[in-house]
Amino acid sequence: MTDRKPLRVLILGATSAIAEATARLYAAEGASIALAARDGTRLAAIAADLTARGASAVPVLARDLAAMDGLEAAFDAIVAELGGIDHVLLFYGVLGEQKDAERDLAAARAILDVDFTSAALWSLAAAKRLEAQGSGALVVVGSVAGDRGRQSNYVYGAAKAGLATLVQGIAHRFALTGRKGLHAVVVKPGFVDTPMTDGLKKGGPLWASPDQVAAVIRKAAAGSGPIVYAPWFWRFILLIIRLVPAPIFHKTKL
């Protein structure tokens, strides 16, 4: 631990496995970490753990992050409780059921509201604040699913694609300010062994642990280009997937 002032970090979607692994990296640095997610009991357990692991302070915000009314006021309030803000990290999202989303527009809307609309608003609220102070990092967890529309999960993929484009735009906007310590980045994990993917068959070289992805995210928050894949090799896998011509791609069940 250094004698610098501790970093102030806001984690949106703090009960996700990747978020918690990332929060532990910040805790070990002695950061102040605000946690936001729906379940107050789970947040309390995580907050106690981060405190034990070295976090300076861990305020919590128990709130449905997809609820968009009063979102900006909630953002300002938790930042005030934190005593300012250096890094904003957005982790939350739902995979949803593609088949449900095709049959039932309400199910589709729920996915879009959580994964795109509300996430975009939190990102814009954070961008406004960070740009005004002229420093800080916005890190948004996207998904490789947003890189090409695929029949198996394109509603989720479209939401993540939209979010990535939004963050890319914020990164551009930040760059034009000429401020060195101000940046935005979208991190796109591939397969991660978390409760979110418990329905899938896991194992093999493509699967990463939350700890591995957290290390990439922490590094991205310290400064990077606007798009980071986690682990790095997904950039090349997705490059190939994007380059496959439609007549061939459409024969697959991807």
């Binding site: 034990a52 692991r53 409760p195």
Partner: protein, 441 residues
């Protein structure tokens, strides 16, 4: 939230069997009551799967993998007390507490064990003669029973359930969290000394003389070259160094065994060569040196998946303890049988236990000498060898360590654990394991 999923991917460290089990991997404590209630007749909580045999397997039953529950509830460096979910690893715990000058009082040969596993197997370490077992340092724990009750227990418990849970192989219920006393240490470094020896008599003399002067003692022996009580070994002993360096170990090991070694890789010749090289290397470095605790306590943790060295058929580990009065003869007899068999171990470990009374009804450590080795699984041939070793241990009045075992007979187990009957009364009727179904009275 995830329930139970049928899978054959969860194996014990020895990898001899690959049973189908229904595995749940909860991440929050609020998920546990429904999982325990919905588990069916046979449930077992497991951690990082470092037990070698089948005490952490529950074929065709349900398994709750606790590693997703790894949060610290409370840590007070001043009072040196830490309470955490049972799934917290000692790896993670040490990295958190060492910067405060604290350390677990007892650590086993790997840091990849959970608190729940440390309690359930009442693990011991190189400092047994000073600090006893892990269970000696447990202040409280929470146990979820299949009848829906959650019971908080500590050493003051008069029902016997606490003593049954320490070393109780997870059979008394699901250990939800554990509170332990930590210990103040000067820093991360160990003043270590390596002394080559040439016979069992020399080993016992070194062990006796080191009890008063050294906190940590352990020995390696070359089990491929045994002649009566003559053998080659390296006696290692150490104390915490007066060095303020508190840097914990690196988060991830650098080296890994990427694939199973083929069957022919481990044979009499390569085992003999390995042991020869290990001995010569150790002799070269004999004497005193200051080393980090990680290579001193956890030498094999530097290599991920080292169990793959034994190939895809897996391996058996054999760890016994024999009483002090027969230690010399029984140990010599065991080593003679092993050397004659031509089977052998990369690392054979010999250590004396102190006279600390173990806190658990099924705790393995008792005063005497413990010998631990691994054997490549060669089927019936290996099992016959282990049965011959059993006969010696039985005759000596010793016992085997369930955490290492995947094959001992019910008779062998029952004769080694005189408090088994008291233990059995506390077993949760809906908890079980492959090990327990084999050896239960």
């Amino acid at each position: 939230m995830a329930g139970f999923v049928a899978t054959d991917r969860l194996q014990s460290w020895g990898r001899v069997t690959r049973p189908r089990q229904n595995v749940a991997s909860p991440h929050f404590a609020d998920e546990l009551p429904a999982l325990v209630a919905g588990a069916g007749d046979e449930l077992l909580g497991v951690g990082l799967m470092r037990s070698y045999g089948d005490s952490n397997l529950n074929p065709d039953g349900s398994v709750i993998r606790m590693t997703g529950l790894d949060r610290i509830h409370h840590f007070d460096p001043a009072s040196r007390v830490l309470r955490a979910d049972a799934g917290l690893s000692l790896d993670s715990l040490i990295r958190t507490v060492l910067p405060h000058g604290l350390f677990p009082p007892v650590v086993p040969g790997t840091r990849f064990v959970t608190l729940g596993g440390a309690v359930g197997n009442d693990i011991h370490g190189k400092n047994h003669h000073r600090f006893g077992t892990f269970g000696n340092h447990v202040r409280r724990l929470s146990l979820m029973r299949s009848d829906g009750r959650t019971i908080e227990l500590g050493p003051d418990d008069e029902t016997g359930l606490f003593a049954a849970t320490i070393g109780g192989l997870g059979l008394t219920g699901l250990i939800e969290w554990v509170e332990i006393d930590l210990r103040a240490i000067p820093g991360a470094m160990i003043d270590s000394e390596t002394i080559p020896f040439g016979s069992l008599e020399e080993f016992f003399a070194l062990a006796d003389e080191s009890i008063a002067t050294h906190e940590h003692t352990v020995s390696w022996i070359d089990c491929t070259r045994i002649d009566g009580t003559k053998m080659r070994g390296l006696f290692m002993r150490g104390n915490s160094a007066a060095d303020p360096d508190r840097a914990p170990h690196a988060a991830r090991p650098r080296r890994s065994v990427p694939i199973d070694l083929p069957r022919f890789a481990l044979n009499q010749l390569t085992l003999s060569l390995f042991n020869e090289a290990y001995y010569r290397f150790g002799r070269l470095r004999a004497g005193r040196s200051k080393v980090h605790y990680a290579p001193f306590f956890f030498p094999l943790d530097g290599i991920m998946h080292w169990n793959r060295l034994y190939g895809r058929d897996g391996m058996f580990q054999y760890q016994c303890v024999v009483p002090p009065d027969v230690s010399l003869d029984a140990t010599a007899e065991l080593l003679k049988i092993i050397a004659a068999s031509g089977e052998g171990s990369l690392l054979a470990v010999l250590k004396t236990f102190g006279n600390h009374a173990s806190p658990g009804l099924l705790s393995f450590p008792r005063e005497g000498t413990t010998l631990a080795l691994d054997f490549r699984n060669r089927g019936a041939q290996t099992l016959e060898l282990l049965a011959r070793l059993d006969a010696v241990v039985l005759e000596a009045g010793g016992r085997l360590y369930p955490a290492k075992d995947g094959r001992m007979s019910a008779r062998m187990f029952q004769s080694g654990y005189p408090r088994l009957e008291a233990f059995t009364a506390h077993v949760d009727p809906h908890f079980s394991s492959a090990f327990w179904r084999r050896v239960a009275p």
